[in-house]
């Protein structure tokens, strides 16, 4: 999964660095200015054709626009800042981002916490839940308990 929010920032930075405004980019790609705005806000991503066209306009590779080779940088105090929340949750579950889950678990929404716990429960996420245990609500402990402890 791609990080919509980071890519949006990248497109905006590239547009500004290349001295274009949103209208000019929209005109070049035959899309609306609102579409460009939505890309930059991380609400949607450009189509494959438009992204290839953007890479030509900015003279960089599509991988660079999609931030595919960049490490995910985040602050421990707010791991979601500057990122798509779904992206961060997915990366943590897949083990692509190493975080001290117990230390940052309070930053997850209730639904996100359950998604992570489900991944632990199903064995999809290889995580040591022992440190996390004390950070869980009694309901969450009960949710994990049957499967993990047996």
């Amino acid at each position: 999964m791609l990080d919509f929010y980071t890519i949006g920032n990248k497109i905006r930075d590239l547009r500004v660095a290349n001295q274009y405004n949103q209208d000019q980019i929209a005109e070049k790609l035959f899309v609306s200015r609102q579409a460009v705005s939505r890309w930059e806000l991380g609400q949607t991503l450009p189509s494959v054709d438009n992204l290839i066209e953007l890479s030509r306009i900015f003279r960089i590779s599509f991988e660079e626009i999609l931030c595919m080779n960049e490490p995910v940088v985040f602050e421990e105090t707010n791991i979601f800042a500057g990122h798509d929340r779904n992206f961060i949750v997915k990366k943590i579950i897949e083990g692509d981002i190493q975080v001290d889950l117990a230390a940052v678990f309070y930053q997850f929404s209730n639904a996100e916490r359950l998604v992570v716990l489900k991944a632990i429960k199903s064995g999809k996420m290889k995580s040591s839940w022992t440190h996390l245990w004390v950070k869980l609500t009694p309901e969450e402990q009960k949710y994990l308990k049957n499967e993990v402890i047996g």
Binding site: M1, L2, L51, I52, L114, Y143
Partner: protein, 199 residues
């Protein structure tokens, strides 16, 4: 000296806990000495919790906070009440705690449109990957809305779309699907499109 009853809960015996439950149930404020039902349920027998849960569920009370402590044998009954239209309670908060079989059954019925007002998307974080993929593929095939499924669809399932697209399947709406694929599949798609543009 006033005794803090909340701190005493773990040390109360079965009869004392039952007495406390009765006092809470009889109270207009649904608490006794600051203690609510959900504070006691971790210390009750499963059978007792099931009974309490059913009572609260039937009167539309605070059943959600009791859900984690309910025994799996109760969930089919709750699902049945819901599908039979016997309750208008919100059952979405119960999904994480339901047993796999009951949840899957509800999910299939919701997808088939047999349960009014229950959005199948709400199931996705809690349903198995296989079921998410199966319904996703079915929705793509029947051209039913599938975008909301994408964050939950497995990488293996989306890989099939990358392969099919690169083999010339023009039916695939790759612009919608590619953001959720693996980096390898995304690269493959972009390279394929770039190569085709050269031709």
């Amino acid at each position: 000296m006033k005794i803090n009853l909340t701190r005493m809960i773990p040390f109360l015996d079965k009869e004392e806990l039952s007495l406390l439950v009765e006092k809470i149930k009889a109270s207009e404020t649904h608490e006794y000495e600051g203690i609510k039902l959900h504070s006691i349920v971790p210390f009750l027998e499963e059978e007792e919790v099931n009974k309490l849960f059913l009572e609260e569920f039937d009167k539309g009370g605070s059943y959600v906070s009791l859900a984690p402590f309910v025994g799996d044998e109760l969930w089919p009954e709750i699902a049945k009440k819901f599908t039979a239209g016997e309750t208008t309670n919100n059952i979405v908060p119960l999904f994480p705690f339901m047993d796999e079989v009951t949840l899957k059954d509800l999910y299939i019925k919701a997808e088939a449109g047999q349960i009014e007002g229950l959005d199948v998307i709400k199931f996705l974080p809690f349903i198995s990957d296989e079921e998410v993929d199966r319904v996703f593929l079915e929705r793509v095939k029947t051209q039913k809305e599938y975008k909301a499924f994408l964050p939950f669809v497995s990488a293996d399932c989306l890989h099939q779309f990358a392969e099919a697209f690169c083999q010339g399947d023009a039916e695939i709406d790759i612009d919608v699907i590619y953001p959720f694929m693996t980096p390898e599949d995304i690269k493959k798609i972009f390279k394929h499109v770039i190569e085709n543009q050269k031709d």
